[in-house]
Amino acid sequence: MTEKPSVDQIREWLDAVPDPEIPVISLMDLGVIRDVAWEGDTLVVQVTPTYSGCPATSVINMDIETALRDRGIEKLELRQQLSPPWTTDWLSEKGRAALEKYGIAPPQPAGGPDRCPHCGGADLEKLSQFGSTPCKAQWRCRDCLEPFEYFKCI
């Protein structure tokens, strides 16, 4: 590599890396990339886990590494950052919109979805506090009767 790519360029590349379990949003949208910086000729990427036991964490690290190596980054260090802990407040607006379009209700401060991602109905009921991944819960819309997943607000 002749010249180091800018941090903005690298963020753009990372914004093209999909979340392994919810591929409609990128790792940048998910808010798990906390910092990207050059330390000398080494690129340091700080990554925070969503849930402490989420199996996607190791896949996310591998995907970051693959994406950046493909772009010619040779010296790369991934650092795990625990504090401050990940919060759904870090989901991007673009990511929230993409989740809803995909059929997953985005997190709401009130603690539950505000509308059905299928029909927009507001008469909703919780089926289970947990769902197919640690970050989601199961809900159902009483208007269209469709079940859907809700991205838990933490």
Partner: protein, 255 residues
Amino acid sequence: MAEVDKDKLYQFLLRMGDNTLILGHRVSEWCGHSPVLEEDIALANTALDLIGQTQMWLGYAGEVQGEGKSADDLAFLRDAWDFRNVLLVELPNGDFGRTMMRQFLYDAWSSIMLGHLQKSTDERIAAIAAKASKEAAYHVERSSGTVVGLGDGTEESHNRMQAALDYLWPYVGEMFASDEIDLAMAAAGIAPDPANLRDEYDALVGRVLDEATLAIPAGNYVHKGGRDGRMHTEHLGHLLCEMQWLQRAYPGCEW
């Protein structure tokens, strides 16, 4: 941070990590066996969070110990007498009601303990606690709701929840029994003295059990011996046989 005896800090971290490891393994035993799909998924997710927390606690414990051991080494290569979890978490699952009662009794302690640990003078412990307490808050919300739903449910579910509480209650006191390790942690501002958390715990648990129409059994007897390793129940050895089997049969196996 005040100077603290490294071995005491190591023991404290083992207590935190062994609680989450052993309970996480117990809860994972439900995977594929729960009464309904939603509960199966919920229990598996809870177990996953607990195992994730274990990696943080035992990972740090290995660093403090300074013998190059990883969280996996500590989880899979110690024998029963080296574990420091409270007896409550190693007890067999029993029926779904007993599992949820045990979960509630643990979650209530864990959510309070982690709240205090966020103010630890040890920055690493504070960071782990901040991460884990978000999960613990979610767990206690679910387990308390289930205890109320089943306790104040049908005659059958009520009787089962009362039986679970009668069985488990004598194991609660161990979570608050301080010893010299706790006092050293408290003096250094690393962790609260567990004895001081009892009022907060009784208030939370009392409120939920009231709503669940369940009565705390009479009697002060407390089963102890897990968190100081003096005497575990016979159940821990059986659990470890299953959990550690692969590393015992194929030492150093990786995938």
